[in-house]
Each structure stands twice: as C-alpha cells, then as structure tokens.
C-alpha cells in the first residue's frame, strides 16, 4: 500500500494512478458547473447509457477486425451512446409529462438494462477479450496501458483548459441563463458545450472509476468544495484538488490491495473527504432562509 502511494509498486500501477488522478482533477470543476446548473444527475443517465454503446462497439469491432477489445473504439461507442442518452433525457423532458429526475431515471435504467443484456450475450461468444468488458462497470485501472493514460491526460487537459477559458461564460449560464440570453449570449450553444464536457468526463472516467460510479466523481468533490467556500473560482480549484486526491488515494489502495475495484476505492476516498469536511467546514450548517420574502411594508 505504501509502495503504491509512492508510485513505486510497479510501472503499470504508476501509470494507472497518474491517469486516474488527472481524471479526478478534471472531473471536479466539470462537476461544479453541472451541480450549479442542476444537471449533475444527467451524468448518471449518460454514464449508464454508455454500456450498450460499449457492447455494440465491441461487436462491430469484432466483426470488422476479428478483435473486439480496443480502448479507443470502445470509448467512441461509449461516447456516442452517452450523447444519445443525454438527448433522450432532454427529448423526454421537452415532449412528455416527465420531470427532469424522472426522465433521467427512465433513460438510465432502460439503457443500463439493454447494456447488461448485451454484456451477457457477448460473454457467451467464443472469442477472446470479452471477459474484460465488465471492468467498465466499476472501473479497473490495473490493466491501463501508457497509451490509455496519455488519452486520459489529453482529455483531462482539454477539459481544464476549456473551463478556465470559458469560466465567466459558464458561471453566467449556471447562475442566470435568462439574463445571459437577454444579454445576447448563445445560451443553448454554451449548454451544449457544457454537456460535451460532461460526456468527455464520463467516457474517460469509464476506465478508472467505471460507469456506475462516475457520477460520484462529478458530484462529491464539488459538494465538498462548496462546504469550504462561497467563491466559484475557489470552489472549482478545491473540487479539482479533492477530485485529484481521492482518485490518487483510491487508485493507490486498489493497486496495493489487489482485489479492490478501483472505482469503489476512489469514490470511497472522495466520500471520506466529504465526511471529514462536514463537521469542520465553515459552510456545512443549514442556512437560515435568506431568500425568504421580507414582510410587506
């Protein structure tokens, strides 16, 4: 365990830990904006929708090349399916009586059921590599190769740069989309971009945290950060720090104690940071209602 913490428990484990840490750093600020835009649970629908995409990408790749498992191909399938999941949630919200959370629940469970069915079909196939598909459920960094870590690092860097550049625009649409639209900002396109950041986080997070728990990496570091600050900039930085630290500790624990699934250990580390913050952070107490109307005069 100590070896793992110091990145000295082998080359592969070190690569995996660095990849997971970078993902945690990027997921924190993405989660902050999703949380403030009240879209955090959208990530859950998107992540569960990746499973049928992964299975389909595996089958198509198997049919085309005779070899199913290729991380980039699987991630492209996951990303396309996640985007479809987000579109399905939005279409349900716009065109049916379903409220936001209900639409998310329908898409999440429907897509996941489809994915589990596909997964059990794939596992009956007499081909190699299909056994590893279920690692996307709860994450497994152990098999991460250097190329995979580069991919994660690249995506994480793009996410952080986009958020830093568009910080004020994202803040505006998160706080007051109506005012933003009235001031001439393209709110729909900015929302699309924010959803793109969400999808990228979910897809890259499949490798380390897994699709069931990736939503936790978006939400927990962000809410933990909120307990410590009233400033959005600091909240984003703190969320990046909490996300990075939990991913690092979780991946180290998973590498050190062999049977622990990486996603679970990472999320537990994030939850532990939250639990430690709750009693000591300055903003943990429920607020008096400051937005309540004052008595009429």
């Amino acid at each position: 365990m100590l070896d793992a913490l110091l990145l000295s428990s082998g080359y592969n484990a070190a690569v995996a830990m660095i990849g997971a840490t970078l993902l945690g750093i990027a997921a924190g600020p993405v989660g902050v904006f999703m949380l403030l835009r009240r879209r955090a649970l959208l990530a859950d629908a998107a992540s569960h929708a990746t499973l049928p995409g992964i299975v389909l990408a595996f089958l198509v790749n198997l049919w085309l090349t005779g070899e199913g498992r290729s991380l980039p191909v699987l991630l492209v399938g996951a990303g396309a399916a996640a985007a479809l999941g987000v579109l399905a949630v939005q279409a349900l919200q716009a065109n049916s009586r379903l409220s936001g959370p209900t639409a998310i629940a329908v898409v999440l469970s429907g897509a996941f059921g489809l994915g589990v069915m596909g997964l059990s079909y794939v596992q009956t196939l007499p081909v190699a590599g299909q056994a590893g598909l279920d690692q996307f459920l709860v994450g497994q960094t152990a098999g991460m190769r250097l190329a995979d870590a580069y991919l994660i690092a690249g995506v994480a860097a793009v996410l952080v740069i986009v958020i830093a550049l568009l910080f004020k625009e994202l803040r505006l649409i998160a706080f007051d989309p109506e005012f933003a639209a009235a001031a001439g900002w393209p709110v729909q396109r900015l929302d699309l971009l924010a959803n793109g950041l969400l999808l990228a986080t979910v897809v890259v997070g499949l490798t380390s945290v897994g699709l069931v728990l990736i939503v936790a990496m978006l939400i927990i570091p962000a809410v933990t950060a909120r307990l410590w600050t009233q400033k959005l900039g600091r909240m984003a930085l703190l969320a990046a720090a909490f996300g990075g630290v939990s991913a690092y500790l979780g991946a180290a624990a998973s590498a050190g104690i062999h049977h622990l699934p990486t996603g679970a250990t990472i999320v537990l580390a994030a939850a532990a940071l939250f639990a430690v913050s709750l009693p000591i952070a300055p903003l943990s107490r429920p607020k008096r209602a400051p937005t309540a109307l004052e008595p009429p005069v």
Binding site: A94, D176, E178, F179, Q230, K287, P290
Partner: protein, 261 residues
Amino acid sequence: MSPQIHLVDRAPIPAQGPLVAHGLSVVYDGKPALWNVDFAAPAGALVGVIGPNGAGKSSFIKAALGLVPWASGWATLLGEAPSKSRARVGYVPQRASVDWDFPASALDVVAMGLYRKLGWLRPVNRRSKDQARASLERVGMADFADRPIGQLSGGQQQRVFLARALAQDADLYLMDEPFAGVDAASEQVLISALRDLQADGKTVLVVHHDLQTAPDYFDHALILATRAVASGPMADVFTAETLQEAYGGRLAPSQLAALAV
C-alpha cells in the same frame, strides 16, 4: 429543471422608438398568455406595466426581448429586432428566477452586466471590477460588494440585480417585478435609481403589481389583462374604468377610492 430559453430570430422590422410591439401574442400550451398587444414606449418614459396576476406582464417583457417565442406579431427594441439589439438593453429578471445560494459575491453578480462588453474568453479584470463597484455604489450597496449573495436580504438582492443592469449601461431597461418583496428602504433606493435613469434620458419599463404606488412611481402605464386594456400617460389611463376592466371587476369601491382614481 431550469426553464428552456427560446431565442427568437426574425428579420429586422423597421420601427422607431425604444420599444415597439405590434399585435404581439404569446401562447403557452395552447393558452394565450399575451394577446395581440400594441404598444410603443415613448423615449425617456418611466412606464409601469400593470395588471393582475397572470395578466401577461412578465410574458410581455420576455416576448419583447425575444426570450419566448412570438405566436403572432412582432416587437422591436431600439429600432431593431430583439435578437440584434437585446445586448444593448438592460434586463432585470424576477429575483426568484435564480438560486441565491450560488457561490458568488454581490460584486461577482454585478460584474455579469459587463461580460458582454468584455467579450468572449476575457476574464473579469480590475477595470470591470471597479465599474461593478461603482454600480453597487449607485444602489447604496458598496459596503456589501464582497458579501456572498445568499447572505443578503431580499431587498439587497434586488438592488444587486438593479446594479447589474446599471452596469450594462443601456439606453432601454426592462425590469420584472423589481419591487416584489423588498423592504421600504430598498424600495426608496430602487425608485430613486429609476428616476436617475429617466433623468439621464433612458427609457424604463417596470412590471409592477402594487396599484397604490404605481401612479407615484411611473409617468406612463401599460395596463395588461392578457390583452392591452389601456396604455398612455398615467393620468389618462389609470382610471377606475380601465382598472376594473383589467381586474375583472374584482376591485372593491373602497379600493378604488383609496387609489384616488
């Protein structure tokens, strides 16, 4: 979930005046919220948009900005289609339309009125912070610049919203219920800020629900009850007949007497 924002984009329609609406209708779920409204705001006027709950007051402001789709008719702001000119219009949304638990200071919110001028990707710089501070000063909130917005009273939050619109430095201001649920001190600050705007030659439209204060606060009125019941100089349109029509005869004689109309 947050409301969907629909952006209306139409060819520019030539119309003079700070705000012109012609045959403007808004329909939600098959029910008209605003019906066939004709209105032209005189330049430099302080206009009260008055009417009962559900009269389409907010819908009128949002339709004028092109934030909700037009079922019929059109509106122009500053002589152009709203999609072209709304960036030059100051807007104060309803205070309840945002989450005041958002991690931001009063200064952060006011600075949002300067984002458009800053442009894409440019961060909030020292100069815009100074400008935002000056706007807060104009509503008596300079001492609260660094206060988290969740710790402000309703009246103070409303002043922050007004300061954000002031920072936009617009020629036309559209305000949705800025006096709703504010304390007496804030109400006085808000009304004197509106009068300052008028003195600077700006045109201001204010959605207002309080009939008692309306004749004091505004020199023009648009009285709405889904359609436009009356519009014009306050003294001409704020009468027992128009108010009874707008409120469907629900105002008691004693209420009307108290309004001295």
